[in-house]
Symmetry: C2
Subunit: 428 residues, 2 copies
């Protein structure tokens, strides 16, 4: 009999079906055994009073993979009001050991480190499944929205000869005997690609060899990047992100209601025009980091809380960071000495995007690099793009895991990372 998904059982009342999946939980009530079977579409209840089948089910460990055949009957007390009255069970992969952690309860009692240690099991919990279903929609939405806006998807190398974002926080790779580095971001390449397609995006891994140990950082993450040409200023980049976030919120509301309910999270409201404040306005508003070129994570939380109060919005763009805290390719704001056409997007207390307008004239790059004591020749392949004609352009980068975590109100970005890598964790 062809397989029916648990979500499709409701369409087969009175018929015989076969469902296949994992034994999520079982419950005995006298001689009756209720089994909850989990497949990719959800849960379905199967029930038997047959002594042999009941014994078989009772003897199987949680997460055993089984195929169950039987007639579909209405049962108001079962999920979706349906259950399968078993008349045949095939054990596909029996489990003989107790699970290292329970995954069939609404709340996972195991701590985060235990969950990460047992990732093959902890990811199967409905809670973890919901997190990465939402992440799937975030990544799909980014790609599909930008595709419709005339952006071309690119795949740039992660093995690079130099830092794009400055600093020494690079992982070194032994590349046939010579040193290369894992890319911190696709920055230089996506700018080159603006010269080709005007509008490009990438969803790819990025690496930071920073020795941080915070709830917001890992050393490998998935970067959502876009870069676009023929802009007037960083405002055009912010408007593009704003439009994407509107689309994303609609998509999540449409497709992920169940996931958000399970995680007790709210799909955020995204106004057509997210509030914008300058860095100095933000610093004044919260009385922190005043006069500095940046704000620290505590000030970000304070600015986010202040913006929620002031604008009634969980999102706030902070613009015009100080030049010394932004990378060399950042465009200065004319008439505002020391300030840049840059922005961060804060959401529920965390910085989730960094972006801005970039320099586009080769003379500006050469002067900037020389001022930093760097020989422009070291960036020859990159400067070629500017030497041979580049439009005003800008872009942004956002961490997929960080955005997912904030959307779902998770406290640690690792909960939204399938297999996180940090200073202490290299497995699974």
């Amino acid at each position: 009999m062809p397989r029916v998904l648990s979500s499709e059982v409701v369409d087969h009342v009175g018929e015989s079906v076969t469902v296949k999946g994992w034994l999520h939980s079982i419950r005995s009530l006298g001689g009756v055994v209720f089994a909850s079977l989990r497949d990719r579409s959800g849960l379905v209840q199967a029930v038997t009073e047959d002594p042999a089948d009941a014994d078989l089910l009772r003897g199987l460990g949680s997460e055993s993979v089984v195929s169950v055949s039987g007639r579909v009957a209405r049962e108001p007390r079962a999920p979706m009001g349906m259950e399968v009255k078993i008349d045949g069970i095939e054990v596909i992969s029996p489990v003989r050991e107790a699970l290292p952690m329970q995954i069939n309860k609404a709340v996972i009692s195991a701590g985060l480190e235990t969950q990460l240690d047992c990732r093959a099991i902890s990811l199967r919990s409905p809670r973890a499944q919901a997190i990465f279903r939402v992440q799937h929609e975030v990544a799909a939405s980014f790609a599909e929205f930008l595709g419709a806006q005339g952006f071309t998807r690119i795949h740039t190398p992660k093995l690079v000869a130099a830092a794009a974002e400055g600093g020494a926080d690079l992982f070194e790779v032994d590349y046939f005997g010579r040193p290369l580095y894992l890319a911190q971001s696709p920055q230089l390449y996506k700018q080159i690609m603006v010269g080709v397609y005007e509008r490009v995006f990438e969803v790819g891994q990025a690496y930071r060899a920073e020795k941080h140990d915070t709830a917001r950082h890992t050393n490998e993450f998935t970067s959502l990047d876009l870069e676009m040409g023929f802009i007037d200023s960083h405002e055009d980049v912010m408007a593009m992100e704003n439009a994407w976030l509107c689309e994303l919120a609609g998509r999540l509301r449409e497709r992920c209601g169940e996931e958000f309910r399970l995680l007790e999270a709210q799909v955020p409201e995204v106004p057509q025009h997210l509030p914008r404040v300058t860095l100095s306005e933000a610093q004044e508003a919260v009385g922190r980091c005043i006069g500095e070129p940046d704000i620290d994570p505590a000030a970000e939380r304070a600015v986010s809380a202040w913006a929620l109060d002031r604008f009634g919005c969980e999102w706030v763009f902070v613009t015009h960071y100080g030049a010394e805290k932004r990378p060399f390719y950042t465009m200065a704001e004319p008439g505002e000495p020391g300030l840049t056409r840059s922005f961060d997007l804060l959401f529920r207390g965390w910085e989730i995007t960094t972006g801005g307008q970039r320099l586009h004239r080769v003379e500006d790059y050469e002067a900037k690099l020389r001022g930093l004591g760097i020989d422009p020749a070291a960036y020859g392949f990159y400067l070629a793009a500017f030497r041979y004609g580049m439009p005003p352009h800008g872009g942004l980068g956002a961490g997929l895991e960080r955005l997912t975590a904030r959307l779902l109100g998770l406290r640690n970005v690792r909960e939204a990372t399938l297999f996180p890598r940090d200073r202490k964790r290299i497995a699974p």
Copy 2:
């Protein structure tokens, strides 16, 4: 005046518009100057007889970025039968040097190595743009088709502790003082994820530290991976790929007609049921590698040519490779000693996919690893998935750049790689 794209000019006959882009080519005819302007949507002709504007244009190097305003007029000899009669030119980024190679001709005379050296420029040629527009559609099609088939997109780590595909061809990374390796494929992780979602896919970078120097290999590539549970055999995986390729061909025909014309390539026909032959049948048919567990690239070309002749099809699945040539996780074919439930897909002479059914019982993995002299404990995080219930499953991996190259009839996979990495090339 708001910007109009070159493809939209046709909708503004008789109106004044502003177009912005790169000076693709210019041509003088007496006192008249014709400029071909390139933007992300294509080319548009702009023309002037004004001596000052004509001088300005003649003085600009190719690839200068300009904004041109003027009235749209019908002109049968211009592309799309339209041209812009210039009444204002703003130079956004002038180019003052000759390009390192010509990119405005139908055929690029520079050799491949020169094109790769000058990637920021060579990618701007209409020919290169067409290649990566097709690649964009291939990747988008893979993600959208699988999403609609109930697959969840995953992002697995590229920093790993052990080889998934066997062999010693790994790049070592200095990870905070200890050695990790760049992932050869997401194999182990995508199998673990079958235990979570049944159906998963990934589009991500993969690395092979092989010292090959062929037209089909680079050391970093983009891998299209899928893995699916509750299959009967590798045939179900082949059927899923077949269905995707049907969808892809339709999409390319619909969206990339111009790109295929420019590259003088044909979108392949994809029958509903691609031909399948066993490895031994293929070996017999071409009289090569008979009795061996695999076929070499020359035999792949011969089999592909034979299949075109025999089945009238540019695609052919070759199945049942010898166990010693397939990785440890490969399922044996019952009743066929030494053979596996594995397949390659050959297309226009190249192997473009490798896949198969995997083992799914923990005892089978433990026995297999011990037989290879490997302590199963080394794969503990992976075997946990099987210890706690896994369905029969299988999947495949395909190189995005290789598939793109074959679709477009390109001789070298580097032409379909934005910034290739090989033993000799680490830049740009």
